[in-house]
Amino acid sequence: MRVAVVTFPGSNCDHDLVHALEAVGAEVELRWHRDPGLDEIDAVFLSGGFSYGDYLRAGAIARFSPVMHDVVAFARRGGIVAGICNGFQILCEAGLLPGALIRNESLRFQSQDCRMKVERTDTAFTNAYPAGAIIRVPLAHAEGNYRADEETLARLEGEGRVLFRYVDAEGEATPEANPNGSTANIAGILDARGTVMGMMPHPERAMESILGSTDGVGLFESIMAGVAGAER
């Protein structure tokens, strides 16, 4: 399958994503934010980093990049879109995902491993994980504190669109397990259709045992499988 990884000015996890996707056999192209067109693309990744320095609000300026017109159209067509860290923030700012990501409650940049519960394993992004899987993945961000109004939160929970939740070793979503103050320990969500996903932690950093964890592999394999299925 062909995946586009978008590079905005200030993206700094774009190459990490390329390595992760290639590791599961994807054909990847880096796409500069000014280069239009997402034809013949099966999935789009918005990488982590500090697009436009995260000035004003993380993702606030990047969402107006030329490429975002194509990304929005691609998403409306039901294309697979994944935003990781800064990519998640951009998707929220662009309105492709509900809610917003504000300053971590600690007011500090948080860089650490976190545990997440994979709340659903029947999605395009998680089908390779066993049900109830708890995965360990690094996170590194200053604005990962997920916020949304009551109604939106109720809808997310009701429609099973909270995909990842920060949990402790026992799988409990405790305050101690919550690295940034996110409402309901939310780490990643889906859009209504289940084809657009955003998450703060970095699965692409958990692909090799030498780097400490391979728990991220499942996410990329899931997307490969999903797309392969769709093609059949």
């Binding site: 929220c92 917003a100 300053r103 916020r147 103050g181």
Partner: protein, 80 residues
């Protein structure tokens, strides 16, 4: 012109909370509430104050404020 972008009431304001806490521990017990937002100073050429305000409003709606978490207020408009 001066624009003020502030966290919505009800939306957690970690920065305000931290400053509130710090002020207390520094001995200012009389502080009841602290909210921290952005003070944006803009210089733009506009025909009139009205058009200036209108432009600023669109800027806020489109870019400067995030409707999910923030309110905005156009504060002062001065002739340059």
């Amino acid at each position: 012109m001066e624009i003020r972008v502030t966290p919505r009431p009800g939306i957690l304001d970690p920065q305000g909370k931290a400053i509130h806490h710090a002020l207390h521990s520094l001995g200012w017990s009389g502080v009841d509430d602290v909210r921290v937002g952005k003070a944006i100073h803009l210089e733009l050429d506009a025909a009139s104050e009205e058009t200036a305000r209108a432009t600023a409003r669109t800027m806020c709606e489109k870019l400067l404020a995030n409707p999910v978490t923030e309110d905005f207020e156009i504060d002062r408009v001065e002739e340059a």
